[in-house]
Subunit: 155 residues, 12 copies
């Protein structure tokens, strides 16, 4: 089982500066934690960050056939990118939307997510742990889907 | 460490009927899974379901001093209850919002969450696993908060 | 064939006071008229009123398996209750929305109905007769559905 | 007592085509059912269909003095016609709005009804039965109005 | 100089019924008053009423070359007819919008006028006098336009 | 019979500058035309212009008991002044709203009039003639009101 | 003269916790202050708190005939409850809306009050004093209403 | 302790005219009642009315250093004046917004208050008593603030 | 293969007047061009224009069984006609929406098309060529649909 | 005559996957069809696809002087890109917007096109044929423009 | 070259009070800085402040013929004054809008500027320097305009 | 002191084409003017243009530690880029938003700026001078900040 962890704009800045505000965890550290968890879950993991919407679109589009699932923090593009919405839908690869912060507690323009309706689920607000929980949830989803087909759920 | 798992309206119907649509997992089964995970995490766990908004308001209000955190699926009240918003804020107890389905893929009137801005985070779309991931995330949050104080995070 | 007649908030006040404004028909009188019509239609009928949204949610949820259909006047909760929307949808029991007054002629905030989209139809504006017409319509619908399966219809 | 049954655009197509979608009941058959019910109710009944908004406006305008009440399915003009709103109000003839389908479960642009606020009530979602229920309700309303004057009602 | 007076839906009902509400002035009486004023102004006058939007569109379209100006009470179509907007603009004939009542004091949906932006001006609220004032204003406008070309104006 | 002609902000600039854009008619010239028409109508006329909203509020408030009617061009305050709305309503003096230009053809923010709903009518788009038509209409209204009481009217 | 003081959701938490944020005044202390003031005003006073919207609806509905007026802090239900709007209107008992905080300075979703339009007035922002001022205002209103009938007022 | 009572547009008309509609209480009478209450409360009181927004802005701006608090009925400017919002905020003087009528029961455009968010509280709907209650509330607030510093409060 | 070319309001005016603005191409000339292209495509073609919405509704409704496809310029009714939306949907005949001008560059109220969602496609902005391109596209679509069934497509 | 065919995000995926949903036509196949048609029309054709908004902006900007026209499928960027709006406008090169699917039948957020108002026209819904029709229309437009200058057109 | 510096409501309070919040720079000090810069630029400068919207309207209206340009801080009236919009447009004198603070970072109701669309440009957020930069920009604009006529510019 | 001048999409086209519309000033010329001014101000200056949003995000993110301030013309991305909003905020480097044209006078969709709330100020409408004024303002701000810390300012 192969998972792609995809990271959107400004996440390259994580932990490098203003650690009292954004925490000291860097994206490299998140990657290390994810690698460790991936080994425990016996899945393989690739990791990508880009500030360019079109590169993220390409990565999602190319994930089909290469990856079983995507853990995706689209960051600011969550709220503005119809192109990423279309890419996730077109790829057909199960995707989990992840956010470090609790976006619901921030500006109004962050209330709309273009990516969420085409993802299978969302994890937000747990800092670096959001990624780990998303990975756990995605792997569980994929294993259940292999075993019995993804059943319905509600509320 | 003591956690309250709180469930809103219509969740008593889960799994009892139309299993091809809503899955066969009942709320009792979710409770059993949560109890098992709680024991593994060495936390104690109470479990409550009510269809009455005011009873949920009371449960949240009384959680202060009794519980270290709340895993909350407010179901339909997510989208309409200012009273639950106020209760979570007033209680001061860290709360995680959880949904079985990916609410972002449903009707427009489910886009607004009154509870999310006063929770620490959200997990949605993983079926029964949403609860387990939320519990994991909440316990991690509480342990980190005890160790070093809840630091900032972003995006 | 068994029908539940469900009544929402403030309907307990009907006819008791200000008869020149609200008419002299009490909810008890409406119940008597419905019982008479039910006997004529050879259906059995239960009758419930509650001011508590959660109790109505419970009643709708429990109607599955117990009732063939529901005649429902959600009153004020028509315009605010996502929980009742979910309950009707989850129960799978055919439901008719009924209003004593012509709600379309009243305040703007009464223009939205959360319950109507998950009901099979609506009757509004005929006073106590709204209930009788709704019962007639529901029984006709159920009998037709038994005979030939509920066919499509338009405009 | 004389009733006009008025039908708006596209209703001439009813049952003629795609019977699995729209049902097999034609407008002619609805008329026959209404005639039978009218005889039972001892009222006389005229029946009209037009695709032209202005002809419907004229029919409503001319109903004053000729008819005691109108059963009106304005179809698509329900949602766009201020002219029919004005015609119903100007005519002063009690009017019941009727729809074959449950319009509340359809597109957003069908949520607004220009005719409903000036009708006495609405019946929707019961297929051809909607017309019969509307006729019953209208005749009951007119007889009650003759006997005691149309009293107030609520919710 | 030749003027067309055009009247929209429901104006045929004027004065015939409910004189205590709508006044006793009929459209025929308004026509007589306009004829008298036209003679005084030494202009010729045609008069038309239709409930059919498309017939009004045709009349406006055919006014070019036949009439020097149009006094137009579009009634309900004021608020819904893009077709009349296009007709007035396409005809190029100066048009004055006229209303018997003060539409600004009525329902919100009457606040939008599709015809006003393509008319030269509006007169509303003076009952039958609205027509006479509109005729005066239109004739003054046309004579001034002939004399010196229609100059700019503000506020 | 005594009429007040009231003029709002920027109207003091009329005709003084950019005559090819705003025309050469000054406010003084409009006043002369109104005086002439007033003599013909045998009414007396006062004339006031102010750029200060509060002075216009005072003038309207003091018109009660002093004037039989007001011809009012509120200019920009039309679209923003709740205070003038309240003043006209409180004064109880019949008021006609007048505009030189066809405001319906201008910016969106000019579509709302706070003064129109509390005036008896409106005249717009006829340049200086708007004032004369408004005066004619107001005097006609007042004389009719004296003779028979101001009756209802429609559309 | 008998007054009901009614309190909505989360007010049971008042003063019990986070006194530096919410103040040290408990609901019990507010009740004592109100009792003292009631004795001074020579009125009798009942006091109720509930988190359940439907129980508040019932209390308002039953106030007719039992109480001369209601001092009501609907708290969060202020902004969401059509049912309480209907209850206050149906009861016919004069009601004053009261808030401890200045709700106008808080979130946007608190800007709408469903209860205010059917109350006689509002007092907000004075902490516990809001209740005392509301009681003073209500008793003054009721005594004036008994003496001379409740006259009109403005702005 | 020195209090300024400030009154906005049209309040000079109070009681002078249409006493059956607006009541017979004049602004002068309100001032006398306030003076009496001020003496009882042992505070000194100045009283001002202006129709000019800018004069009210000046009065609020100059209140700093001269007055301990302001009782302010901004009337129509409540709903349109960002300048008064800024003035109250800049002055730093505690201000209570007061309305004679229950503004929440009036037009939609009165739902927004620009002044309320920068006041400490609001009193509305008690006629002339609104001023007295506001004065009581303001003086209580100021004395409490002097004694212990203005503590937090909620809902 | 038989195609109906349908034209909405004001198109009868095309080319007859203001040729510098609207071009010199008349509707008759467009018809001639379409006839020529139809012969080249070996399809038969009928041509209709009406200003009356209801006549267009009738024409669309009657197209089922008579025509294989419709090229439709609904002109102004594009933006206001739910009845044409319903007619196209009910007829089941593939329809192409065509506009002479680039409607996207015009007024905001032309941004909404009620007909587009139930058409198979749109051609706009090519003047008379829009019709020819629409005919080409429609015939291609119909021939492909006959050959292999109309497959899915995207973006 | 030289034409640029420009393709936006996700179009590289066309036909490669889920052929039952998106069809089997690849972008390469569309290019071959366009090349064939270009030869028939005796125009030269370049072809470009990019997922990066900024690269599309550059391509449009550089088209001036190099190309006589652009056939552009901006895909998802249609609905979000002000930058492409500005690029098309700045380039001054006639551009046709093209879509494979009928975007009007899809999500609400696809209703807005930033590019359409600055294109000369649009073709949508004909699958791969959309490109061919757009090319035909563009070449016709350019040849007509060379011959006589691009004249006005309407509706 | 003669410049008018115009200041709106509440700016008289600048620096007089709460210097830690608003800075210690008074309006008099800003005037001195502007005078110094004006001498350096060899332009003459007048300076005005008013809290009254109408006085600002008058000042702008009278600036034509007297001043070559206006530096204008409309403060709160920026967001509410159509009258100032009209005044600037009518005067024809080039105007620069200036703000001390970065208004874009403040409340939503400050997002709309009525004056900006009729100014030549804006400077905001530089404190007292905003005025100096605006003066520099305006003088540069006027000198360039004299030399070569104000050319186009973009983005 | 080191300043980065950053330029968004389409600015590479400046002055190269349509000089009568966009002016003859190229971006290279603006750079030369800025270099000259930078030397006068004794600051060092880097200059960058990109059409790719993600490259601008990267440039802003990397400015921290390298530059003391940024002069930024985000062009079209001003109105759509949450990613640039986040980049500016995350970088912590003082940024001035600059526009050549007066954006407030253009399309509605340019009214929203995502970048402005996280900049220190804005300069718009002065053509190439906008950059010079922004540089002056930024350098002044930085020097004042170094000397005394950036104090508060208002309106």
């Amino acid at each position: 089982m192969k998972i792609l962890v995809l990271n959107g704009p400004n996440l390259q800045l994580l932990g490098r500066r203003e650690p009292d505000v954004y925490g000291r965890v860097t994206l490299a550290e998140i990657r290390r934690q994810l690698d460790r968890r991936a080994r425990a879950l016996k899945v393989s993991l690739d990791f990508l960050q880009s500030n360019v919407e079109g590169e993220l679109v390409t990565a999602v589009g190319e994930s089909a056939g290469r990856y079983d699932g995507v853990v995706f923090n689209p960051a600011a593009y969550t709220h503005t990118s119809v192109a990423l919405h279309d890419a996730i839908k077109a790829s057909g690869v199960p995707c989990v939307e992840v956010h470090l912060s609790n976006v619901a507690a921030r500006e109004d323009f962050r209330r709309r997510s273009y990516t969420a309706p085409v993802c299978i689920g969302q994890v937000a607000g747990f800092g670096a742990d959001s990624y780990l929980l998303a990975l756990d949830g995605l792997v569980g989803y994929l294993r259940r889907a292999r075993a019995i087909g993804a059943g319905g759920r509600t509320s």
